[in-house]
């Protein structure tokens, strides 16, 4: 049987971003692949060295459009640790609220794109209609629809009023009801299962070996969630990571479906238990020293290394985003699958190439 090597991406109808996979096929089966990235490098890490450290909050938000708040939060947490700043309890709960609505937004966006990947456009529209409510909520609370700019070093810049809290609670309950209507379709539908069950297997051992993170790791049976470290107010809220043991594309979808419910619960819990008081403290001085900060993003663990030298500018900012950890996993998921399953399996890791390349 002859072998052919054909590129998948960087321009491909199913890919929102330019991931390039050189795939070798034998007949219609994938036998080998080599991933390549480097099409959307923006040099944000270098740019961060030229900006002053409070300005970098807005810069790191632009690493990823979807989990922008969590990038700002991770960076702020790092600087706060270096400067010994203790943020008020209200800011901690607000950070949980903003993080969780970002997570719901990301998961709904992905579930829509996933449905679109196997040609289920009606479902795609249903998910994005539900997501629109969350985006409206983000605009009401944070001011922007996607890039919130509500996190700052020392706390939160956008405190919530009583009225906003009520609207947020109503919206989250509405989205929960919408998801209860839509989710059974992706969980039980015959055609969805036909395209996802048993495809793109990443076993538990391989997931650990290839350094998978987030929902991909949890779908392979490893109960690891960085939120368990208890940053922001997660330590007080308490939750159990969602784990699936099937290790396939379907399991990765189920993890995200269940996590979107969990995120709604966590966001509501944070609002119910929101303490009174200030939402931010004033920051004076410059950071000095180095730190490593980890936060659970919708796609998995993000890692920030910050090195400061006591001046307004940072010496080094290093960001490792979750998709960077997921790309090696594709080397295990794809070989052996059919050519037609490649888009679905690639989408199952929720690739975000712009944040990977920064």
């Amino acid at each position: 049987m002859g072998r052919i090597t054909a590129p998948f991406g960087p321009q491909h109808p199913v890919l929102p971003e330019p991931l390039h996979l050189n795939i070798t096929y034998e007949d219609e089966k994938v036998v080998d692949l080599s991933p390549a990235i480097g099409y959307v490098h923006r040099g944000l890490e270098k740019l961060a060295e030229t900006k002053e450290y409070p300005q970098n909050v807005f810069l790191v938000e632009r690493v990823c459009g979807i989990c922008s708040f969590m990038h700002a939060m991770t960076y702020s947490m790092g600087i706060e640790e270096l400067m010994g700043i203790k943020i008020p309890p209200r800011a901690k709960y607000l950070r949980v609220f903003y993080s969780e609505i970002s997570r719901i937004h990301s998961h709904l966006l992905w579930l829509g794109l996933f449905a679109d990947a196997f040609g289920f456009e009606n479902l795609f529209m249903q998910y994005w209609a539900a997501r629109e409510k969350i985006v409206d909520l983000m605009e009401l609370t944070g001011g922007h629809r996607v890039i919130l700019s509500s996190c700052a070093i020392g706390g939160i810049r956008r405190d919530l009023s009583e009225e906003q809290i009520k609207i947020a609670e109503t919206t989250l309950m509405h989205v929960k009801h919408e998801l209860e209507r839509i989710n059974p379709i992706i969980m039980k539908d015959y055609t969805v299962k036909k395209r996802t069950v048993g495809k793109g297997i990443l076993t538990k051992d391989d997931a650990i070996k290839y350094g998978a993170v987030g929902p991909v790791l949890r779908a392979s049976g490893v109960a690891q969630d960085i939120r368990q470290l208890g940053y922001a107010a997660y330590g007080d809220l308490g939750f159990e990571p969602i784990v699936e043991t099937d290790c396939d594309s379907y399991a990765r979808g189920v993890v995200r479906v269940k996590e979107s419910y969990q995120s709604i619960e966590l966001a509501l819990e944070a609002l119910y238990r929101l303490p009174e008081g200030e939402a931010a403290v004033k920051v004076k001085g410059n950071p000095d020293g180095e730190t490593l900060m980890r936060v659970e993003q919708p796609r998995g663990e993000v890692l920030y290394y910050i090195k400061a030298n006591g001046s307004k500018n940072l010496e080094r900012l290093r960001i490792r985003t979750p998709t960077f950890a997921h790309v090696p996993g594709l080397l295990k998921m794809l070989p052996g699958c059919n050519m037609a399953d490649v888009p679905v399996i690639v989408l199952s890791i929720d690739p975000c190439i712009s944040c990977t390349e920064r």
Binding site: K51, Q55, F58, N122, A129, D189
Partner: protein, 110 residues
């Protein structure tokens, strides 16, 4: 796909999820970051806003008393509003309308 049939039928009678833009324009919520504007009666050209701006959208000539603002570079982060000692910058909820060419606004003392 059969599970979607009730949904497809209900869609025949339901209102569309989208708006008939531009005939029906959505009003931005209170506190939305639309655009910013400068009040030249209050501005003293201290350039604090320009120093804080992460997008380098504001440039201040302190000697020449001119403030150049590039609305298309502005990310409406409110850093300038927080930094302004004279409350000369205001946030408006209305979004800036799309344009086809880059432009800048030049402010001089009234």
């Amino acid at each position: 796909m059969a599970t979607m049939i009730p949904n497809v039928i209900s869609n025949l009678t339901r209102r569309p999820q989208t708006r008939l833009y531009p005939f029906e324009v959505r009003q931005p919520p209170l506190g939305a970051r639309g655009h910013i504007d400068f009040d030249m009666e209050k501005c003293i050209f201290c350039s604090l806003c320009a120093k804080r701006c992460p997008a380098d959208a504001i440039k201040v000539d302190r000697k020449g008393k001119t403030l150049t603002f590039e609305p298309l570079h502005c990310i409406v982060c409110e850093a300038c509003i927080e930094g302004c000692a004279k409350d000369a910058i205001t946030l408006y909820e209305q979004w800036r309308s799309p344009v086809t060419e880059l432009y800048s606004k030049i402010y001089t003392p009234l």
